[in-house]
Amino acid sequence: MNTQFFAAWIEEIAAAVRAQRDHLTQLDAAIGDADHGANLDRGFAAAQEALAGASPQTPGALLVLVGTTLIRKVGGASGPLYGTAFREMGKAFGDAAEVSPAELSAGLNAALSGVQRLGAAAEGDKTMVDALAPAVKALDQAVRDGRKPEEALEAAAAAAEEGAKATVPLQARKGRASYLGPRSVGHEDPGAASTALLFRALKAAAAR
């Protein structure tokens, strides 16, 4: 996977977030503050603009730029968290011009660590981690099993989507939704839902 591939990923994310903007915002309205869709839309539109302006030459540089842009433009909880995720992933890729499936997997593990270091959320806290962690695990496993890239990415996307859906019955213990206590139960976490979009976009980029 080269720089072009990751540029395509960001394009796919931006399109998916734009399309799901209202949905994400409505999820956030139910247990948060109704801005998650607007936040990510603003962030990924800015990321695309930044990429167009800077034309980074390696996957690592590209992802660091995306992460930095998210941190600079999004605000809220998701800005620093997603921003850190992309930056950590990019940093893990170093100067390489190509990234192997195993390296992608390592990069996503670094992203997950970054998110958890910053936000201190464990699985089951009803956050983006509930989609990110299983997706990363599924990708690890698929890569270890030597499955084809598309299959591996499909496994990751499916795991993220399952993880997001599985947040519905949970009571939130991190972020804004935790203020609702038991009333947070019965709603999908918006950050987990957007993480699922990110992994679905990764699969779509590979299918291009």
């Binding site: 801005d35 936040n39 999004v74 605000g75 809220g76």
Partner: protein, 330 residues
């Protein structure tokens, strides 16, 4: 949704232009989204920076000026500001004596301020941070993001502002900021939801005879829903929650705060009941504010914040302040 805006995307910028035009005592960097005191930085004075999502006006921009904040950073509606803004503000108010970040305890605010503090320190600015977390509606436990920062933010900003103006060093200002926060408690009630412009519809639905108890300031639902009742009884619920957490006694500073859509006459009705409750508990509302200070867009409802005063805190509260939303003594 009907709002007096030119568009959901330009609301923060447009409002900043308005603030700039209305208040010559402020210097507004519209592009970087920072509201500065016109005379910032003041050499030798600790700089005070706060910020948070927009939609809570006059918080924070309305509290920038002599004796209060040196700069405020408004994020998008209900979205914490980004580190760039905060760094710009931090550097812009640093008069060599360091900068205090006054942060309401929300994950987004905490993360963005942390990043800004780290990067500002890299650039040689001494930064201390105080977290405001006064809202008793949220359990302060490992199972939540901790208590929210609401009305006590105003108290912390005013009181630390007076200290900084008087030349107190950063460590001392930070200590008193934490003391004010520890002595303060809040509880909020919503009669209606609010509508975030970008979302276009109310954040929750509430029946004609229902209220939300224990709401925050971001349009999120509260801890419980209850039947509508008389102001007297609603106030009792709020004050009982505060009193259970930190028994009320002695000289008390009280804020009866409107959420943005509540008429002032109703806030005075609420204040009358709050004051009576305090008296019943043997406490006295020696200082008070009644009005819209920490709002939630167009939400109808109120919050009460109390702060148990000391002689020092009372003196600092009374010190002159000159900002768009709080002004006395000059």
């Amino acid at each position: 949704m009907k709002k007096l805006i030119n568009g959901a995307d330009s609301i923060v910028t447009d409002a900043l232009r308005g603030i700039a035009a209305a208040h010559p005592s402020l210097r507004v960097d519209v592009k970087n989204r920072v509201v500065f005191r016109a005379d910032a930085p003041r050499p030798g004075k600790v700089g005070l920076v706060s910020g948070g999502g927009s939609g809570h006006e006059p918080l924070h921009g309305g509290f920038v000026g002599y004796g209060m904040l040196d700069a405020a950073c408004p994020g998008e509606i209900f979205t914490s500001p980004v580190p760039d803004q905060l760094i710009e503000a931090t550097k812009g108010v640093n008069g060599g004596a360091g900068v205090l970040h006054i942060v309401k305890n929300y994950t987004g605010d905490v993360l963005n301020f942390e990043m800004a503090a780290e990067l500002s320190r890299d650039e040689g600015v001494e930064v201390a941070t105080v977290l405001v977390n006064d809202d008793v509606a949220v359990q302060d436990s490992l199972y939540t993001a901790g208590r929210r920062g609401t009305g006590a933010t105003l108290f912390v900003e005013k009181i630390t502002g007076a200290m900084a103006e008087a030349g107190a060093p950063l460590a001392e200002v930070a200590r008193v900021a934490r003391e004010v926060n520890e002595r303060s408690r809040s509880f909020g009630v919503a009669l209606t939801p609010c509508t975030v412009p970008a979302a276009g519809k109310p954040t929750f639905e509430l029946g004609d005879t229902e209220i939300e108890l224990g709401i925050g300031i971001h349009g999120e639902p509260g801890r419980t829903r209850a039947p509508m009742r008389e102001a007297r009884e609603i106030v009792r619920i709020a004050m009982d929650a505060i009193n259970a957490d930190l028994p009320l006694s002695g000289d008390t500073l009280v804020l009866v705060n409107g959420m943005g859509g509540t008429p002032l006459i109703e806030l005075y009705v609420v204040f009358a009941e709050v004051e009576a409750y305090l008296r019943e508990k043997g406490a006295t509302a020696v200082r008070s504010l009644v009005g819209n200070y920490v709002t939630s867009l167009d939400m109808q409802g109120f919050s009460v914040t109390t702060c148990s005063l000391t002689g020092e805190l009372t003196r600092l509260w009374d010190a002159p302040v000159e900002t768009p939303a709080l002004r006395w003594g000059r």
